[in-house]
Symmetry: C2
Subunit: 666 residues, 2 copies
């Protein structure tokens, strides 16, 4: 409606942008940017490569507030990819995209995969297959998105690039190729990394930066320039991969399916609808043959080159008997390739300067290569960047008191994950290719049962989903205190039980101020800030007991310690013995947490899910990337303070600890 | 990951757009567009006004396939609105936006309202107020979104305009003003509507069209040119409205609240966060004074003009005692206005040519004006367009056999809704302003209890939410058959029980092909197509019983009757006595409904919710806008056929009925 008789209203200056999408507030800058002086082009961070890993890092830095004077992202390609390449997003990756406000199109237009089907040679009819089981893709995992999504990698890149335009005038510099990287501290110790690039027009230029990130893929120039090497073994099974619209009467064409047949293995991954209304299907097809070419790379290469699309489709059709499978019509094949499985990784994910500060990092395929079938590639790569981004920003903006130590944790955490990736992929690929020494007696000699594949899959589900990753002890993960001091019951971390180093699971809580059910993940978006979750005990309404005392200490002593906006407090309470108003709890709670006070036992019992005893409560610090940093008893504010001061320093710049808040019970 | 050893893949021509968001497929064109000849500028449809109603219509027509040669939308404003005006979206409107793929930003960045608080004068402390109840906003309503959302109208307009750019090279012609409309069949009976406009540069031009839609607001030039008149009464309560960031200790500031106090009424509507991180609040504030100015428009106008922002905020603060309320700081007030409540509407929503064909339509505020407090304006207006769009497209594209009769239903359906809107708003406003003759004895003479307001609100919840609208009998709503033939149990239509003329409620079903839980609304997006829902009975697996026979008749006789893609079949089955494969049901089901076959009793019992007996089943036709058109017994394919042929005609163009499919049981 309109107001035909309206008097003229006044207006404030910002309302003219109210029709635009919301953007995330940037982080404070506590150290000035070194001014560009002299003729040399300089940035604080340069990112080489704009695939999913590079774009994720570039976008996050822009969202945190690093503008285009400070940040450059180049890629030798002319734009985002159009076909093929990695296409699966795992539950944890979906959680991260959701937190960044980027999941909507992926969830609604991608192909959701909730169930995995396993097929074996028929026990009754020779030379045919039969379904042995259908299992939920994320069985036993507490996750906001209990499924995977397959979607075109080019879409992911487009979504990242589009969101960048909300935060940065300057996009990616496409068509710009990295020639060489070196460290040179003698000329300019503030900007010790020297990069030579060649732009679209063939024009070469030299650029300096404080930090360089190589997201330039399996053939990484950054990695090679810095003398780092991919190491690992290479299996010799040859596989074909095809994206196409199929015509088939195979019953499990629309769910992911692992097919083990007498003539070889096939994996089916359903993909998204295309504009014709038809759905794409991805096939991974084992190409049978002599697999004893180990070591003879030339022979293997020659064999690989001889494999045609018709071979791949022929093998697929044979493996699926008694069902038929063929491309729907001429032109139904979108893309295909032939590859050999190999798992390799780099021993060191960063290179330090002479002072011990990490200056060059590598992320994604530059660090680790592996087979595509578990759909990990794009996920682990983007999560490398997600792990590095806030640490890099904290170093650049001077937020952390010990940048070198914080940056160290990138290698500590992501190298651990890469090791798991390689190990899992090795086991999964071996079983799927039928190459293992544990073949049971009752299995035909041509391979393994898909039951074994299922076992490997389910053992790895925490890793595959991304929700079971656990980072080791470091500056940002504190887990070494006596276990009895961590007030958490239960050990099934996949079901949500809290654990330092693991990501906080999502749960729906009812917000006090407006009665709106909220997803906890939406209440603490991954925007570069730390959060303290105060799980009060059921004594909250007694001002002389622990919950109220802790909240008072938090509000009056701890929270003011840190630079504004860097630490947010969420307060969760269990069921209490009566209704309450703001006046029944410490006044300071409304000041810091008016829209962050929740009933934790409404639709779901968050206390039970997280393993918090409602009679005791707990304090939990969650890092900017959603991982639990430290857990303390409700009374133990000083433990929280110690952890946060280690990561963030203090507002005044002091660090002698005299201002550190005491235990709430004092 | 990438494929370093990949052979070169082939590519299909469409894969280059796979990285873009999906778009909705357009509808078939069965009648050629009349070529533009001669010097006169011509379109098939012209829309005057690009507020929410005009933009919704323009976007839908573009999505259905009407390109910029056929369609023009002009607006005299220079762009979308920046502040004030309508800001509430109701549950049904959210369902429609979701179906169009436009709800994500609204749901995540708007302000969700789940609970409504009612406040009364305190029974114990004079001159103060106390909370009497907090009720769910959509109590008793089965809806996908059990809440309202408040959000800037400019954002809605921006979202609609952005989506338009996916479908149409040509956007809205801003700064172009309508001068006059007339009907002139003598010169060009194909394009009988003549429009004179003045563009940005002052250049006047004359344009002809087949159909004209006036979405040009309360002062509609289209309405005035066609001699239609707004009629109704005008109450004289004066209200102030303010959007601002408040500082207040009122406990229900973050939920919508109706406050009845001794000094006047206030309504609080929480709004979305702005970029500062603060939340806007909308206040509707009753300005007390002599309300017996009825009839003396000049006096009322003078009084209105004397009301200032300070008056409004002063009255609000007084009504809220003992709580305080003030603007947060200088500049916190975003927009304010003063208005008087009035309910008026037009008797006829369209104007016919001499042949009886509707040629000029009005939608939105041009048809009906009312008070803003129930948050209906933008909703009813956009739903006017949503109702008209597919009918207009069917007429233009020659899809329907009787365009005049189909277009008639726009007035039949939306005039009914407008009448309800006016009646509801009158009742709600009267109670809220304290002007009714039913004041109980125990209530102070200065007004009413909010209990009465709550009663009016809850009686109107079906209408307010938009989910309880019921269209009357017409070509597109068939409800006159003997009630015993409609195989539906139950009458609580707000809880989801099926009823011709009401919208089909959403429910989650498990899809057979891939085991993915799907929202029924997402499976039948409002894209201009009719859907037949076959609720099979539990005899599905017996090929000689009704379910299988009906599905066979549907697939072999009925579905091929209609132009391709215009009618989709969804098949829902109850729990059966065994697992089944595609081979256990009629083969034709997979052909038409491979991705539209669902288990209807998985997480939710859809049969119970819709009132379908699992031992009997039912056939349900859903219109392109999501409203139930007809319900038939499972055996009665001919009833479905009759309804659809009336709306759509038949593929061959024949209409003698001889090809119409028989009863399934023949």
């Amino acid at each position: 409606m309109d107001f035909p008789n309206a008097a003229l209203g006044v207006s404030s200056s910002t309302r003219n942008i109210r029709h635009l999408p919301s953007s995330t507030p940037s982080l404070p800058r506590l150290r000035p940017m070194n001014k560009h002086d002299g003729p040399t082009e300089k940035y604080e961070v340069i990112i080489i490569g704009a695939g999913p890993a590079g774009q994720m890092l570039n976008l996050l830095l822009a969202r945190y507030g690093l503008d285009h004077h400070s940040r450059l992202c180049i890629d030798s390609k002319s734009g985002t990819v159009k076909a093929g390449q990695a296409d699966g997003l795992q539950p944890r990756t979906l959680e991260v995209f959701q937190s960044l406000g980027l999941a909507d199109e992926i969830l609604s237009q991608g192909c959701q995969m909730w169930e995995f089907a396993f097929w074996n040679p028929s026990t009754t009819h020779e030379d045919t297959i039969e379904q042995t089981s259908v299992v939920p893709v994320t069985e036993g995992i507490e996750t906001r998105y209990p499924h995977e999504v397959s979607i075109h990698q080019g879409r992911i890149e487009r979504i990242l690039e589009e969101n960048l335009s909300l935060y940065s005038r300057q996009g990616i510099e496409w068509g710009c190729k990295l020639l060489h990287v070196k460290m040179d501290e003698s000329q300019d110790s503030q900007f010790p990394v020297v990069v030579e690039v060649e732009g679209k027009n063939g024009h070469r230029r030299t650029i300096r930066c404080k930090y360089l990130v190589g997201a330039d893929g399996a053939h990484s120039t950054v990695r090679q320039s810095m003398g780092l090497q991919l190491k690992g073994d290479s299996l010799d099974s040859i596989w074909g991969v095809v994206d196409l619209v199929v015509e088939s009467d195979f019953p499990d064409l629309r769910r992911p399916a692992a097919i083990h047949s007498a003539t070889g293995s096939v994996m089916i991954i359903p993909r998204e609808k295309i504009d014709s209304g038809e759905s794409l299907t991805r096939l991974y097809v084992q190409i049978p043959g002599d697999i004893r070419l180990n070591g003879n790379h030339e022979a293997a290469k020659g064999w690989r080159k001889s494999v045609t699309l018709d071979h791949i489709l022929g093998h697929a059709a044979r493996a699926l008997r008694p069902y038929t499978l063929q491309p729907k019509e001429g032109g139904a094949v979108d893309w295909w390739a032939v590859y050999q499985i190999g798992q390799r990784m780099v021993n060191q994910f960063s290179v330090k300067d002479s002072s011990g500060m990490d200056r060059v990092f590598i992320v994604g395929d530059a660090c680790h290569t592996h087979s595509p079938k578990a759909g990990q590639g794009m996920n682990v790569s983007m999560m490398d960047s997600f792990n590095l981004a806030w640490k890099l920003l904290y170093a650049v903006n001077g937020i952390t008191p010990d940048a070198a130590r914080l940056l160290d944790t990138y290698h500590i955490e992501r190298h651990t994950v890469a090791r798991q990736l390689i190990d899992f992929d090795h086991a999964f690929s071996s079983v799927f290719s039928g190459k293992t020494t544990t073949t049971p007696e009752n299995v035909p000699s041509h391979g393994l049962t898909s039951d074994q594949l299922r076992e490997v899959y389910q053992a790895g589900i925490g890793f595959i989903s991304g929700c079971g990753i656990e980072y080791p002890e470091s500056l940002v993960v504190n887990k070494t205190s006596q276990a009895s001091r961590i007030p958490i019951r239960g050990t099934n971390h996949l079901s949500g039980i809290l654990c330092p180093g693991r990501r906080l699971a999502n749960v729906v809580l009812k917000r006090y101020a407006d009665g709106v059910p909220r997803n906890l993940h939406d209440e603490m978006p991954y925007d570069g800030r730390f959060r303290i979750l105060v799980f009060t005990s059921n004594d909250l309404l007694d001002p002389r007991r622990t919950s109220a005392l802790t909240l008072t200490t938090m509000g009056h002593s701890l929270l003011p310690t840190f630079p504004d906006t860097l630490v947010e407090q969420l307060v969760i309470h269990p069921t209490l013995n009566r209704r309450f108003t703001w006046l029944d709890i410490p006044l300071i709670v409304k000041h810091y947490s008016e829209m962050r006070l929740y009933h934790g036992i409404d639709q779901v019992d968050a206390y039970a899910m997280f393993g918090v005893d409602p009679t005791k409560g707990a304090l939990v610090v969650v890092r900017p990337d959603g991982y639990v940093g430290v857990i303390a008893e409700l009374v133990d504010v000083s433990r929280v303070a110690e952890y946060l001061v280690g990561c963030l320093g203090m507002k005044s710049g002091g660090s002698d600890g005299t201002k550190m808040p005491p235990r709430a019970s004092l």
